[in-house]
Symmetry: D3
Subunit: 310 residues, 6 copies
């Protein structure tokens, strides 16, 4: 190798046509508007969620502790910060979705104010629900020795808390942000619950990796779900252009006191009756009455010589 | 939109009652003590684990390389730092769990010292085990071209290494921290192995997303597990208050040389005999003798017109 | 607790033998060479991928927007930076794999230059493919209200984009880095697609957690895959030393217009014929002709008293 | 020290009255308006300045180098980013200064646009000036072995470049931001040049710590200034309320080719004639004609016994 | 340059003796005790100071603004956090200075609690003083167009605020931390005011670089000081070991309404009488009565040929 | 303000000509070569200096403490890391200065190795010197209550330590990096000592802001220097092109036991005889014999009416 100068691999000869190609293509498929476009910030939304977790479980995710009378200050300051940031992010979300200029869209401004105020009012109820989830974990997991551990270490608690926050925003018509909140949990826990799903109190998702709960799912009270469970849709009707028709109820209804074991796949607008138990790895596409017990067909077994592989 | 001042959406009128509500609720469900409460720091625990990984695989996760005689310095400094931090985190964990003031609890202090010293002594054996896991990956994955790649890119290696470290702490009675260590791996890999599981040498988990190995599982030598496999519990007995009775053996025993394919769900204190092979997506709740081959019941097949959906 | 000095738990008496043991072991199993060894940097590779995502979807992951004429500058600068860094990382990857000194290996230098230049030329085609994936998501998910959401929030898009970039590098013979790129997606999405897999246009992976696509898989156009699906290998032949023989075609071929539902496990070099639909949780190890519809055997159902457990 | 719980030092009894006091005071002296007030971000302004430095000296503060044809991309992208951010910060500055709501003030919006466009047009001239400063350093410092070192390591270059950028904004009437830019240099270099100062080409400030150049100073071409030099004001007239009257010319005029040595203090609207040399530690409050040489009065010397102190 | 492996420059042959030498020396000069020694954290102290600045000037350094009723929450939460952290840092400072084990020293614990509580009670008075300093800046600097600019951009404000906080801790007997606070300001502003200096209301330091105010200085009300001014000590008496005797009053007393211009050096326990004005670059070691005007001896001037140098 | 889209202020019409202008100019004045140019990294150099400070003062800037036997590990690991990084940065510095391609320049490689090895050998002597500086501070500052405070809080210690490290590299012929090291101290302390200055043991610089010590200065043992002191050059001879002739001895020689008070300016290759004392604000350009006491001419004093200004 000589000591002379080496040109870098990629110079103008090679770079320019690729840049031109990528830029030309850009105006085709996707479609952001010409003005100032500001997507909601994923980092800001995550910070909001963490702040809300801190006020829902003070002492676990903040710097305060319970009997300290500075608690009011911490909760108040954290909540005020979160609400301000939320209002800003909602404004961005509305402007982006409706292709408005975020700096000048008064409609976006007013919508964000109204929604933020409504969301604030929902927090006490969300708090009640997430604390019921802690109870459900404590009752449902023999490996859990204290409620503390559920609160700060259980992925199911994390994902369900995120979904309950996202659902409130979803119901209020906020675009994009609910999805960012549930995808944040999805990334960290492998639990993917659509913001649209309606979930009763005391939901316990154990382990949770691979759980999918679709947009129009309804889950009753006191339900237990294990890893790899899908509450999904079957095929869906298409419109005249061949695109799926959006917004139809197409996911399961799970009534109170149901347990769904690992890997079960439940598809379509069917109802799992109250108190039923769905076995692992079951593939289920029709309703079952209350108190049902559904299991996979018998596995076949056979002895074979060691080392022969499968 | 007029140029006048706009009040922010959330002001004192709306904020104060929510803050009061959230603070009032705080003293109810959860229960942190009045004094200085310091939870173990997740960030500190993760740093400890990364330092330990660096000394278990010097040259892969540190700045040193093998034939460099500065290796002793690096290993020594990294290990000393990790042990100091671990002692501090254990002290916090004990104080939190037993509701002591971490600054003044001499019992916590002494317990942390004793446990840290014991843990240090276990490291060479842990090192032997994780290196056996590297061999297992090399032998078990045709896509793997060098041991290097297993060490620094395989999620299964990552998760099993974390569990072996967490298990040693679990056996020594350390609270909370083992769980933080395995949940860290769970978040990054989707592999959820409880710190309590007892695992023999040469475990290879391939791909791994969705794998769950429960608290009282026992896994023999030279076992291979694919993604989505559950070694879980069946229903569990409740005490007189309706809470699950903790600490009963309720997860499978997997003997040496077993292979469990993707998505298999194995539940309860059953035994998978030596050399058995469990097929994908099987739902298994009874023991199988050595050399068994278990597969799902035959899938049903039918031709249908293209485009008709399922 | 007396106010006297406390010795830390771990001192020289305990530390030295463990350090010696760990260092002694180091020269055994693993094998980094004596010179300057620099592994590719995971952080640098991730930054490259994010830069490439920004030029593949300008306006979504950068600071520019589409109709802004500064777009050329942004795309050009981002691409130039990414290509420089990629060249450096490839050089490291080659040097590490072939055990050369990265600072003096002219072969590594030249290989990195050649490959980087070739990769650049492939970007327009990659761009075409990932935009076809956006279309597939829009057509395939009723819950998706705009293409925007697919681009910046869908884990399937993320993972498939990463794989398409990694695949191009894999085909060009780049070591280690393709794996880092797909493992990055695996960590964030739970979707594990090997860089070697060959994938046609318009792939849509919905939810995605637990999806595994093996090294020699071939996927046609317009395929839809749900969470927990495995395209895996059956057992594999061993060489005379008991190690698996590398590089044999051992994963499925999925033809155009196939849908594979959640949790299906498809193993071996079989072919899923064009337009087939594979039901959830199916375990499939033989080829099916075009237009097939495969479902799990009927689940067994039975009513039982509420509360009895499973 | 007993093992009992300790209350933290600061509890509600002590905290509440202090908080009340601090909040009560807040509405007195200072005066931010009721709406959304957003100060310009110091971090954003610093980033803008660093981006501008990168385009003024490409190859020294960026990632590009000169003969690379990707230079246009880098300069264009960096400049576009800086201009966008500058426009935003100016908008904030105007809104804050005039007590408008930054989100709804269309005047602020338009002013920021106009000023940013004008500033952009001034950059080539600023570039010419800062490159003349490099030459001045090379000619004026025997310790400097290459122009490179002046560009990236000389505090004088740093401070003068910042002032030239700040001055352009100051002339355009931008509030607050020019001061942030020069204070940034002041913090890092100890050189405090007011944005209002008018400075000709080829200014060289050597070492520079403690240099102060006041608001209405005028500095000609080819001037050399050493550390600790002050170009300041004498006493100033007060208005009827006893406040200083703002905006009067009150700092020195330094003509071309002047050298001012370390620690000289030059006060008031006096003129230092072309080619003069002002000695170190001089205190000067009257004009001197061209070609003057001013030095401090003779120091008095005396021998004294060693060790007696001063 | 051959393609062979190169050994790194520094290997065990060269490294070991240097390490041994450095470690051997370590036990000589300096003297940290054997137990757990934790110095106060500079980062933590800086964070405390920034939090206190935020509550002293709410709306300027926090996220709140004045008329927002969430102000109480922000001030309360910020103050509570700062006091907790301050208590911890004081505990460390006491333990380090007195060579106690920070984890077990109950004396350190109690001292930190008492001091923190006292310090909290001083904050309203400190607040009054720093707001008087803002007024002084506004009255004293014709270049200042609003009080805002003084608060967030004037180095003199920054340094004096830090000193007032440090002084309160100094008076309470806190070791090390006051010095860290003033050195933080020294680093950023070049203004070095010892925590021990006693300073009346309405101090204005303009520009400030190079200002030094010694430990036993006393400064009255309404004093103005320019850059480069020293209030220092003359020679000091030594004890029988030749070490300086600590704690003697040895710095100037500056009475009310004094102005000291740039670069003046005032040494020893002398008094500058009320209303005096000390000219720039003066060297002064004896007291002057009220109303004095002191200036440097006349500078000598002479014309000389241009270009001849000095 | 209408709700319509607003174009950003800076678009292609305005941006393109400025970019072209800036790029065109780039090839003129400055001169980086065409190949891969990598300047030494300021961040890396700072990290090296901090690591060296940690091994020079173990227990103050590291995580270890003195009586801990893990000290050897910490010192060894820190030193090994610093030496590796230093070698890399020197290689970059040589390549940049000599306009070589850093990746292929074997001369740069070998030079960096040789110099790094030599520098390592100088560390014990540097250690001895900086510890002598601690003693000098303790003996010279009545405000200093422990050596600890000098080590971790005194800007003079910081700056002199940096200079002693930089000087060793300067003597070894390393380009650029010594300057980065001293400028780092200059930025943080306002003390600017050229790497070329030769400094004896026990130097104490108190406060230090504004101190300048020129390239060819020689400072003896046990010297004390206060803030604002300059050891500078007078005018310098020019070559036939009008550029200053580099490398001539042009700064003062300060013999042992000299004290130089605040603001003194000492210029030219003069000698301050052993044991002399130079008063504050003196302007001195001729040698003084041993034992001299030099002070500024008498200041003139006069009483004047309060409030009349100066």
């Amino acid at each position: 190798m000589s000591d002379s100068k080496k040109a870098p691999a990629v110079d103008q000869i090679t770079l320019a046509p690729v840049v031109d190609d990528l830029c030309r293509g850009a105006s085709g498929t996707t479609s952001t508007p010409g003005g100032r476009v500001t997507l909601p910030s994923r980092e800001a939304v995550i910070k909001i969620v963490e702040d809300l977790r801190a006020v829902l479980f003070p002492g676990y995710f903040g710097t305060s502790d319970l009997h300290d009378e500075s608690l009011h200050y911490f909760v108040g300051a954290t909540l005020a910060r979160a609400m301000r940031s939320l209002e800003e992010q909602i404004r961005r979300g509305v402007a982006f979705t409706e292709r408005h200029d975020v700096d000048t869209c008064s409609h976006c401004f007013e919508a964000a104010q109204a929604v933020t105020k409504s969301f604030l009012g929902l927090l006490p109820e969300i708090r009640r629900l997430v604390h019921s989830d802690v109870e459900a974990a404590y009752e449902g997991d023999p490996a859990l020795r204290s409620r503390d551990e559920a609160i700060f270490a259980y992925p199911g608690m994390f994902a369900v808390t995120n979904q309950r926050l996202a659902h409130a925003l979803h119901v209020l018509g906020v675009p994009l942000i609910p999805r960012i909140i549930t995808e944040y949990a999805h990334t960290l826990t492998g639990i993917d619950i659509h913001p649209g799903a309606r979930i009763g109190e005391k939901l316990f998702i154990d382990h949770g990796t691979g759980v999918v709960v679709g947009e129009t799912s309804i889950i009753g009270k006191n339900v237990r779900i294990y890893q790899g469970v899908t509450l999904g849709a079957k095929s869906f009707p298409l419109d005249e252009h061949g695109n799926p028709i959006k917004g139809i109820d197409r996911h399961p209804i799970v009534e109170d006191d149901v347990v769904i074991y690992a890997g079960a796949t439940i598809l379509g607008r069917i109802t799992i009756g109250k108190g039923s138990s769905i076995g692992g790895n079951v593939w289920l596409m029709k309703s079952v009455p209350p108190g049902s017990r559904v299991t996979q067909a018998e596995a076949s077994e056979q002895r074979f010589a060691f080392g022969a592989g499968i």
